[in-house]
């Protein structure tokens, strides 16, 4: 008996593409998606996923603790528990800084290290598209990581509030617009600086270290220039030099409408204006330097 072969080998050759084709905007969106995927470790090995998702879990801990304790004490006569305020929760410093220090280099350094820029810029993209899209991608992730825990906190608190969810929402309605604006202010700032630091070197470790060192040195310089009274309180206009905490000063303005009274710019005339102007100057100058660096693309 002879076996009949049902298999066949096909040479599919080359098939022209006649489907939809986007232009520059679609290219920008694709670059954004690829950058976000890379930062989150998607389509990469499990090792690349550990850090971002662990960080998201870590930054969510205060919200979960706050909601959990509120739930456990909802039927007691104890005072309402507030482990962390919405204002304090914006810019949970160390975790987000570490995230930016590790992620910003990861989404920009490999393109230069592997000399991929000629492949990218042979597509309908410009240097400006590249810079803006990379910053937007990192900002979106930092924003998400800063904002999602707030959602957990707000929704959780609303559910466990002893006076009812609606009452909680009404009492805290201002946070619905304050939190996203404040988180965005922090996210944009750290993302721009993180990408700027990463644009000067092909080595990720160096880029992350430079980002952290510059911010830490700026905070030390600010403290030295500000002096400080006998109680160790630093209150001076030099606080704007503290690049590490600068976005938190602007955050205070969003939540309080003024500089925090217990903060280094509290009670100083023009402190709020100085903080905002310095913030805009730092972000604007950093973007200008970034755009300049990618104006001419070397192939």
């Amino acid at each position: 008996m002879t076996a009949t072969s049902t298999g066949a080998v096909y040479d599919r050759g080359y098939r022209p593409y006649d489907g939809p084709r986007g232009g520059r905007n679609e290219a920008r969106r694709a670059l954004w998606r690829a950058s976000v995927r890379r930062a989150l470790g998607l389509r990469r090995s499990w090792r690349q996923k550990v850090f971002p998702w662990t960080l998201l879990a870590i930054v969510s801990v205060p919200a979960v603790v706050n909601v959990g304790i509120a739930y456990l004490t909802r039927d007691t006569v104890a005072e309402e528990f507030e482990f962390i305020t919405y204002r304090e929760y914006v810019g949970v410093g160390t975790a987000l800084l570490l995230f930016v220090a590790l992620t910003a280099p990861d989404i920009i350094c490999p393109d230069r290290r592997h000399r991929m820029l000629p492949l990218i810029f042979a597509r309908p993209l410009t240097g400006t598209d590249y810079v803006v899209t990379k910053v937007a991608a990192l900002t979106a992730i930092v924003f998400a990581f800063g904002f999602l825990p707030h959602v957990v906190l707000f929704v959780g608190q609303a559910f466990v509030d002893r006076d009812g969810s609606l009452t909680y929402v009404r009492a805290n309605a201002e946070f619905i617009w304050q939190v996203p604006i404040a988180v965005a202010i922090v996210a944009i700032y750290y993302s721009v600086l993180g990408i700027l630091a990463a644009s000067f070197t092909n080595r990720r470790a160096i880029a992350g270290a430079v980002f952290l060192i510059v911010l830490l040195v700026a905070s030390v310089v600010s403290a030295v220039l500000s002096g400080g009274d006998e109680e160790g309180v630093f209150s001076s206009m030099w606080a704007v030099v503290n690049l590490l905490a600068l976005p938190l000063r602007v955050r205070d303005l969003v939540f309080l409408g003024e500089m925090a009274p217990d903060g280094p710019l509290g009670g100083i005339d023009g402190g709020a204006t100085a903080a905002v102007v310095t913030y805009l100057a730092v972000v604007g100058t950093s973007m200008a330097v970034l755009l300049r660096r990618y104006r001419w693309i070397e192939t």
């Binding site: 080359y14 084709r21 986007g22 490999p110 592997h114 042979a122 192939t299």
Partner: protein, 302 residues
């Protein structure tokens, strides 16, 4: 017909060097060899074609699009394969090619499908889900070629595509390029290897120090030289005597064979008759044509 490449007085200078000097060419669609030594201006011309570097003066159109007016529009029509290694190590070939397809404007699903198709076409079907880190030089060159064509471009710019390949890898790459041409994709092949150009290109642009040496159809440039090569199995002296006795002129001995200048096709019959009369075996009788090396050396030194 829309020209593949049309330049008029294209000039680009960098400090201390003129990369392109008043380059004027008009190239029809097809497979074009862009040849010249290192520093001849090939890479600069590619950069200008891609709209990445503005020329100092002159104009340039690629696939009918004025590059100065619409650099983004040009890039939607072009694919580019750089000479140097430019692939990340921590991505798979499928992921990289699909991602670059998306950068070219393809929807994500179409990009993945196209990536699969073109990687199959270049012979990386089974390897496409492996990290690029483990790819050989030949596989990396094929991946670079795949990313250049994933967007179904009108024109593909290939910068030294056979660089670093062993003889068999080089031959396979040239066959791939020839195959692409059959799909209606115009190709500009920048190389300093004239043999590669002669094998796959139907047109040639020769540059030297940024200046145009010559441009035209390959077959016209390597046209016959008016001489034939006669090989009588090594009996060179007897062959020279026989051809001389037949009254043929300009007889030159070459490596055991003899080059004979011809004044008409009748001379072929006279050569055959002379060889037969001398009792010599006629192993070979072929028209001599110039190589592109001859053309380049001849015209570049004028």
């Amino acid at each position: 017909m829309t020209a593949l490449l049309r330049t008029v007085g294209l000039t680009k200078a960098y400090p201390g060097v003129v990369a392109l000097d008043e380059l004027t060419v008009d190239i029809a669609p097809g497979t074009v060899g862009l040849v010249g030594a290192n520093g001849a201006g090939k890479t600069t011309l590619f950069r200008i074609m891609l709209g990445l570097t503005p020329p100092d003066s002159g104009s340039i159109e690629v696939a009918g699009v004025d590059v100065a007016n619409d650099p983004i529009g040009v890039r939607t029509r072009l694919g580019f394969m750089p000479e140097h290694d430019c692939l990340p190590t921590d991505q798979t070939a499928a992921d990289l090619v699909a991602t670059l397809g998306e950068f070219g404007g393809l929807p994500p699903r179409a990009a993945r499908q196209r990536a699969s198709d073109v990687l199959d076409l270049v012979g990386l079907d089974e390897a496409r889900f492996r990290p690029l880190e483990g790819f050989s030089t030949g596989m990396r060159q094929r991946t670079k070629l795949a990313q250049a064509i994933v967007g179904d471009p009108q024109v593909v710019l290939l910068d030294e595509p056979t660089a670093g390949l062993d003889p068999s890898g080089r031959e396979e790459m040239l066959q791939l390029i020839e195959r692409l041409a059959t799909f209606g994709i115009s190709i500009v092949l920048a190389t300093h290897l004239l043999d590669d150009v002669q094998q796959v290109c139907d047109q040639v642009v020769m540059l030297d120090g940024g200046r145009l040496v010559t441009a035209g159809r390959t077959d016209a440039l390597v046209e016959t030289t008016g001489t034939v090569t006669v090989d009588a199995g090594g009996h060179t002296d007897a062959l020279l005597d026989a051809i001389g006795a037949a009254g043929l002129t300009s007889v030159v001995a070459l490596d055991g064979s003899v080059a004979v200048s011809m004044s008409s096709d009748d001379d072929l019959d006279r050569i055959v008759a002379a060889v037969a009369a001398a009792g010599l075996p006629l192993h070979r009788l072929t028209p001599r044509s110039r190589s592109l090396d001859d053309v380049f050396l001849d015209r570049a030194t004028r």
